[in-house]
């Protein structure tokens, strides 16, 4: 290392040391200055009281002082040592002998390159000076040339300040804390916290949000804590315990608002927006402010979401087409319901909502909804999640939403299931035929052939066992299959039963023969019993095979016919849609048309496929397979689509007409095929059904004639009544119509939602009857009007009884009780009016003697006789139907339906003989309806039941909630349960608890 380098290194070391010393001095001085300023400010704040300006002022001054001190003790000295020459001079001050050489060495070092080019003086001399200086500084100690003296004064200042702090802390304990608190508090609560209460006698007035329907609530002498719904207005009244000049209410930590102070009483108000606290600050004379030491709590009373229950036929429902599913719901909210909606989601698609009720307002609501699955657009195999959602009336935070459990439904294709069952029936047929073949092909049971004979019979026996199991299972499945023919189930069950018996009888000799064979002693005589039994099996298997073959063929054809029906229905819908589209040209209709066309194409393809399959499988004789699908039908459908897309709707209509004819032809041909097949293979059943239909038709016709004659008597009666009341009827009707209007108004005021579903229906019924009453009165038909008035009154009375019974239930919530109260009150207003109208009409009506002359009375007696004879004929027909049910199981359904008609006939007869033609007429009409319905049902049995099809023909069939009417149980039933529950107390001691619990569960 050269001399210059050694000098430079020395000077760098000096500078480093000086830097540290001055920085340390600057920092100590800054801390001391800041602490001193804060102390002064704290004293000032303590002296003047907390103020919002203090924290900032104190902080600003302290930082300022610190910066000044830092500049003075660190930055300024360091600035002076910024050059090497300055450092050399600084060293020179502490080593004066060396001062000149050192400075010269430092200054000459930059001249060295110039000296090399232009030797103004001796280079060697410079080097020698440098060498000398380097040697001299090498002997110097750093602490001597860079002392720590600059730290002395700052440290002294810091020590002095610390001494002051210690002194203050010792002499005035807590003062430092209070002063710091006074200095640091910002915002409205800068006021001094009081050590004792500053207000007393707090009274709160809570005004709840309007949607809650709650009345304002006054809470005197309270701690001041608030528990209220969000949005509640809180009014505080309290007394100041200090002589305050002014008062402030501080919400939370920063929201200060002036409180009204008058005569020492404070009034303040706020609105509850969320969990928080509040306290008062009193301004005291002299400028001091004190605040309550502990804040009062503000807590939210939550508005809970509604509680919703849904009732559906099943949690996981399988439906066989776009049917109507009955849903029940009950929702309850703590303050009020606004809307109830059905929410569903198909697969993973978007949720869809359908509002079932809106603007409810009451706390509870119940109801039923018939959910038409057609609107869901279900396809076979789709799974739909659905639930009931209820919203409350909370318009402060937004409505709370409650939801029932999620239920699921899935569309299954009844036809697919049916087809699967048919396939299994075909398997059964195969099994039966195999068993039959084994027996028929068995050799004669001679000694030589004994083994082969036994093998054949064993194989047949096993097949029969398999067939029995399959037949029994299919019989069970047929029960739940609406598309299965009536005779299928008994046929399968009978087959299983008969074959089962034969197989059981055969088991023992078979086992015996097999044992002998194992022992090697099987001879012909041992097979005698088996040989004798086998023909019975053969006969049974033969019958079974033919029956199954018949049923299979029939079901295949019925299946096809059902498909053709669906195609025809789709075609009809398509025609209607096309007409609509021609008128409206709206996009939605066009899309619907496309959907229908896809449906139709699907059906046609299925038919095509099935026809081809049937022709190939020979399950149906060729002569019954004359229906054909127009080979151009599908192409026509494509043309049609193209025409619609092009907007050529007239051409589309013509194309559709062409297609329509092809479908109609096919449908008719399939119908003919099916008819022909049935006539050949099910001749007895067809004959029995036809005869039964004819006889029912005859009865229906005769009943119509009796009803016509009864109606004539009624007309004469009405004319007579009008004649008798000729002079006063107008005035009477006018007066009664006013009452009816009053009744109508009151009936409409009855809230429907709190009522049980069946009462809701009853209320609807009552309203309709009141409407009818108005009409019949208007027409002057007093007798009919009286009937309507009685029915309306009866309905209202029944609702009232029921509602009162409901109120008595323990499990009704207080909120629901309030709703029911209102309903009962309104019912109480409507009922007397209804009763009055009934009384008026009863008084006004002419007596029966006045209305019916002797001739009509005789006629009614005659009609009673005819009705009796008709009833007898029906009885005979019922017996006949029961007898024929074996050969034609479809007839088996007739007797129950006939019994209904028979009861109507019985009542009609009684009413005719009792000279009550109006009642008799109604009974007669009911009997006619029942007979007509029965006839239609029986006719329908000749065609397959397409209700299980997945076609979109909207079925009006409802899938009901099991025991739907009991989901709020009828009054009588509830009473029985309660009575029984009371009796539970009399149960033997060991069981009393369990019995009681059982009834409690039921009541729940």
């Amino acid at each position: 290392m050269g001399a210059f380098e050694r000098v430079s290194a020395f000077l760098r070391a000096v500078r480093r040391r000086l830097l540290l010393v001055h920085l340390a001095a600057g920092l100590v001085a800054a801390v001391s200055a800041g602490a001193a300023v804060l102390l002064v400010c704290a004293f000032a704040a303590w002296a003047t009281g907390p103020h919002a300006v203090w924290p900032l002022l104190a902080l600003g001054l302290a930082i300022g002082a610190a910066l000044l001190a830092l500049t003075r003790f660190a930055l300024a000295p360091l600035y002076r040592l910024r050059r090497t020459r300055d450092v050399a001079r600084q060293v020179g001050t502490h080593a004066p002998k060396l001062s000149s050489d050192l400075v010269s060495t430092v200054e000459l070092e930059p001249e060295l390159p110039a000296l090399a080019r232009e030797p103004r003086f001796s280079h060697e001399l410079v080097l020698a000076l440098a060498e000398q200086t380097a040697q001299a500084v090498g002997t110097l100690e750093l602490s001597r040339v860079a002392p720590t003296r600059p730290l002395k004064r700052p440290l002294q200042a810091l020590a002095g300040l610390c001494a002051i702090y210690v002194l203050v802390a010792l002499t005035a304990p807590g003062w430092l804390g209070r002063a710091a608190h006074a200095l640091g508090r910002r915002g409205p609560l800068y006021a001094e916290s009081s050590d004792e209460p500053i207000i007393g006698d707090i009274a709160l007035t809570l005004t709840y949000p309007r949607y809650s329907g709650l009345a304002p609530k006054v809470i005197p002498n309270t701690s001041g804590d608030v528990l209220a719904l969000k949005g509640t207005e809180v009014q505080i009244e309290t007394r100041a315990l200090l002589p305050a000049k002014q008062a402030t209410l501080v919400l939370g930590e920063g929201d200060a608002r002036p409180a009204e102070l008058s005569g020492g009483v404070l009034h303040a108000r706020f609105r509850v927006e969320g969990p928080s606290s509040y306290r008062f600050v009193l301004g005291l004379p002299g400028g001091r402010a004190v605040r309550e030491p502990i804040a009062h709590k503000i807590e939210i009373d939550p508005d809970r979401p509604p509680k919703v229950d849904m009732f559906a036929p099943s949690e996981d429902l399988e439906v066989a087409g776009p049917k109507i599913v009955e849903l029940g719901f009950a929702a309850e909210d703590d303050y009020g319901l606004s809307e109830i909606a059905l929410v569903w989601q198909v697969g993973s698609g978007p949720e869809q909502r359908k509002v079932l009720r809106s603007g409810i307002g009451t706390r509870s609501a119940q109801g039923r909804h018939d959910w038409d699955l057609a609107e869901v657009g279900l396809r076979a195999g789709m799974r739909v999640a659905y639930r009931i959602e209820a919203r409350d009336t909370d318009n402060v935070s937004g409505p709370n939403v409650g939801s029932s459990r999620t239920f699921y439904l899935r569309l299954f294709s009844a036809r697919e299931k049916h087809e699967a069952q048919i396939e299994r029936q075909a398997e059964l047929l195969e099994e039966v035929l195999r068993a039959l073949a084994e027996r028929l092909e068995a050799p004669a049971p001679t000694d030589e052939q004994a083994g082969r004979f036994l093998d054949a019979l064993s194989a047949a026996h096993e097949r029969e066992q398999a067939a029995i199991t399959l037949a029994a299972r299919l019989s069970d499945e047929a029960k739940a299959n609406p598309m299965a023919p009536k005779e299928l189930r008994p046929a399968l069950a009978g087959m299983a039963e008969r074959l089962g018996r034969l197989v059981r009888d055969e088991a023992e000799p078979l086992s015996d023969a097999q044992g002998r064979r194992r022992r090697g002693s099987l001879k012909a005589p041992a097979l005698a019993r088996l040989s004798a039994e086998s023909p019975k099996h053969v006969a049974e298997l033969e019958n079974d095979a033919l029956k199954l073959d018949d049923l299979l063929g029939r079901q295949r054809l019925e299946d096809l016919a059902a498909l053709a029906d669906e195609a025809a229905a789709a075609k009809k819908r398509l025609q209607a849609l096309l007409e609509k589209y021609k008128r409206t040209r709206d996009e939605a209709t066009r899309k619907e048309i496309e959907r229908e066309m896809r449906e139709l194409a699907q059906r046609l393809r299925e038919i095509q496929q099935k026809l081809a399959d049937l022709a190939q499988k020979h399950e149906v004789p060729d002569e019954f397979l004359n229906a054909k699908m127009d080979k151009n039908a599908l192409a026509d459908l494509e043309h049609l689509e193209e025409m619609i897309r092009r907007g050529d709707l007239d051409a589309a209509a013509r194309e559709l007409e062409k297609l329509s004819r092809a479908i109609d032809d096919m449908q008719a041909a399939l119908g003919d095929d099916l008819r022909g097949f049935r006539d050949q293979r099910f001749a007895a059943e067809q004959k029995a059904l036809s005869e039964m239909l004819d006889k029912i038709g005859d009865l229906e016709h005769e009943q119509k004639r009796i009803a016509d004659d009864t109606q004539k008597v009624l007309e004469r009666q009405r004319e007579k009544a009008a004649q008798l009341m000729k002079d006063r009827i107008d005035q009477f009707v006018k007066k009664e119509l006013e009452k009816v209007a009053r009744l109508q108004k009151r009936a409409h005021e009855i809230p429907q939602d709190p009522l049980a579903p069946f009462d809701q229906e009853e209320l609807d019924r009552a309203r309709r009857r009141i409407e009818d009453l108005k009409k019949t009165l208007d027409q002057g038909d007093l007798e009919q009007a009286l009937e309507m008035a009685r029915q309306a009154h009866g309905s209202l009375k029944s609702i009232e009884d029921d509602t009162q019974g409901e109120m008595g239930r323990m499990s009704v919530s207080p909120r629901a009780r309030q709703d029911l109260d209102l309903a009962t009150r309104k019912l109480g207003e409507a009922l007397p009016v209804a009763k009055e109208i009934v009384d008026d009409l009863e008084k006004a009506m002419p007596s029966r003697e006045d209305l019916l002359g002797g001739e009509d009375r005789r006629r009614l007696q005659d009609l009673g006789g005819r009705e009796q004879a008709l009833k007898k004929r029906l009885e005979q027909l019922m017996q006949e139907a029961e007898q024929k049910a074996k050969e034609a199981p479809g007839i088996g359904d007739a007797p129950p339906a006939m019994r209904g008609a028979q009861n109507d006939m019985q009542r009609a007869e009684g009413n005719l003989r009792g000279v009550r033609p109006r009642d008799a007429y109604q009974n007669e009409q009911q009997a006619i309806e029942k007979l007509a319905e029965l006839r239609k049902n029986m006719q329908r049995q000749r065609r397959p039941n397409p209700s299980g099809a997945e076609g979109r023909e909207v079925s009006t069939e409802r899938i009901k909630i099991p025991g739907a009417d009991e989901f709020r149980a009828p009054k009588e039933w509830r009473e029985q349960i309660l009575e029984a529950a009371k009796e539970a107390g009399k149960a033997p001691e060991p069981y009393r608890g369990q019995v009681k619990k059982y009834y409690e569960e039921i009541v729940k």
Partner: protein, 533 residues
């Protein structure tokens, strides 16, 4: 089995001869220089077209503004086979008299015929013009022309006369077409079993493809041609009984001697009628065999007239028969003509004929029922072949037999032939006689099991009573082939061909048998055509 109906003598429908004459008479009055219209109408009725044609031309010249001559010309052209020309003339005639329903009736028929046959193919042989729908029916042409030419030659020998020019023969694809070109309804055709007609100067026949098991279509062609010859020869003067008798007697003439015997069914019917003493009189046969009260009566009537001609023929030979026809052409009544030829009054001849019947000792076959022709209907028809597998057993008259036969069919379809045989035998045991359908099924089942003797016995039993059934012939041909008897196999295949030429197995079998021969090529082609349509 009755397979055709002679329409001669039936009411003529809307344009029957009487009406025609009246209509023509109403249309115009005669003139000295032209033939009288009623004469022309009679010539047309007698198919004497040459005379009628000249007379009509004269009449048209004489009465250019009348509709009557136009109507007659339309009728003439219709009989000549010019349907479009006939329709045009008839329309012109109707333009002169729009109220004439008879003319309109003929116009409708002619137009329908023209529309149906416009697309027909045509093949001509030396003496015949065959018109037929293009397609499957083409297969019939060589067999039909061969048989017709053979018939013509045979009948020319028997009657000493053959019609001049070419005779038109039309083949229709189904019975619906026959209804279209005739005055018969579809229902009448199906009920009566009418399958062919000789009318309007042409032969009309339904293709055997239209029937489930075909029918004796070549014999029927021959039968109708005989009617044609007798009509032309007699100037349409022969009554129904004689007409049908001669046609029935000559039915198989194209392939053998005349009067080749009664079928077992006809024998049975005659035997039972004789036993009852209740024959159908000739008078009862008028105006049409098809009008008899039952199919059994119709079949009996055919058997009777066959036997009557047989009786005459045996006593007088063809000369006698020919003489009767000629006598009637010359104006004699049937009774007079027969009496003259037989040398005894007609009632006497009737008695001797009945004695002849009794002397034949016809065999009674209890349980035998006339088989109805079974027409194919709907798309099912297209799927049917003559294979016995396709024949259902619904035709069996005894319920139990039907059930066993169905079971047998179910088992056989599943390859359980041995079990099926048991069921077929049970079915057969339920029947009083041999049911050919069932016997054939049984035969085929035995054949599948390789039991040739039993198979042959069953199939022969089927033919014993119904020799015209094609399926047992096919079965027997296959049995003969298995036994190596090519001659028997050929006989049976040919017999089956006469009934159902649309059965590919028949042509394929013959193609094998006739390989290397000219006929073999034809059969090979037919076989290919039917197997690979």
């Amino acid at each position: 089995m009755r397979i055709h109906r002679r329409e001669r003598g039936e009411p003529r429908g809307s344009y029957g001869s009487v009406l025609c004459v009246l209509c023509v008479l109403c249309g115009f009055t005669t003139r000295a220089q032209a033939a009288r219209p009623e004469q022309i109408a009679a010539w047309l009725e007698e198919w004497r077209l040459e005379e009628a044609e000249k007379a009509i031309a004269d009449l048209e010249a004489a009465r250019p503004h009348d509709g009557g001559p136009l109507y007659l010309e339309g009728n003439l052209r219709f009989l000549q086979g010019d349907y479009d020309g006939a329709a045009a003339k008839l329309r012109d005639a109707i333009a002169h008299d729009r109220t004439n329903l008879a003319w309109k009736g003929l116009r409708d028929l002619v137009e329908a015929t023209a529309n149906l046959t416009r697309s027909f193919a045509e093949t001509q042989s030396e003496h015949f013009i065959l018109r037929y729908p293009k397609g499957p029916e083409e297969i019939l042409v060589p067999y039909a022309t061969e048989a017709l030419e053979a018939t013509r030659a045979a009948l020319a020998a028997d009657f000493g006369w053959a019609p001049p020019g070419k005779v038109r023969v039309e083949i229709y694809a189904d019975v619906g077409d026959l209804a279209t070109v005739s005055t018969l309804t579809l229902k009448e055709i199906e009920t009566s079993g009418t399958i062919a007609l000789c009318k309007w100067n042409r032969l009309m026949i339904v293709s055997p493809r239209a029937l489930v098991r075909g029918y004796s279509w070549l014999d029927t062609l021959n039968h109708e041609y005989t009617h044609y010859v007798v009509t032309r020869l007699s100037h349409n003067a022969v009554p129904i009984w004689l007409h049908e008798g001669i046609a029935k007697f000559e039915e198989k003439r194209w392939r053998g001697p005349a009067g080749s015997g009664l079928t077992p069914m006809m024998e049975h019917l005659l035997a039972s009628a004789l036993k009852r003493g209740r024959l159908i009189t000739f008078a009862e046969m008028h105006p049409s065999m098809a009008k008899l009260p039952s199919q059994e009566d119709t079949a009996l009537a055919f058997a009777e007239v066959y036997a009557a001609i047989e009786n005459i023929w045996k006593k007088t030979g063809w000369a006698g028969v020919r003489k009767i026809v000629e006598r009637m052409r010359d104006g004699a009544s049937d009774t007079r003509a027969v009496a003259d030829v037989m040398g005894e009054p007609f009632p006497e001849w009737e008695k001797s004929w009945k004695r002849y019947l009794l002397a034949q000792k016809y065999k009674l076959r209890p349980g035998l029922m006339p088989h109805r022709l079974k027409f194919k209907q709907g798309p099912a028809a297209a799927r049917r072949s003559s294979k016995d597998d396709d024949e259902d057993t619904a035709e069996l008259t005894v319920e139990k037999a039907r059930r066993f036969a169905r079971l047998a069919g179910l088992l056989r379809a599943r390859g359980r032939t041995a079990a099926a045989v048991v069921e077929y035998e049970k079915a057969a045991a339920q029947l009083p006689g041999k049911e050919p359908l069932l016997q054939n099924k049984l035969g085929r089942a035995y054949l599948e099991l390789g039991q040739l003797e039993r198979a042959q016995s069953a199939a022969e039993a089927a033919l014993e009573v119904y020799p015209e059934m094609p399926t047992p012939h096919v079965t027997l041909a296959e049995i003969a082939l298995r036994k190596g008897d090519r001659t028997r196999a050929q006989e049976h295949f040919v017999a089956a061909l006469r009934q159902n030429p649309f059965d590919p197995s028949v042509h394929c079998g013959l193609a094998d048998l006739w390989r290397g021969q000219a006929q073999g090529d034809r059969e090979t082609q037919a076989c290919r055509k039917l197997v690979e349509p």
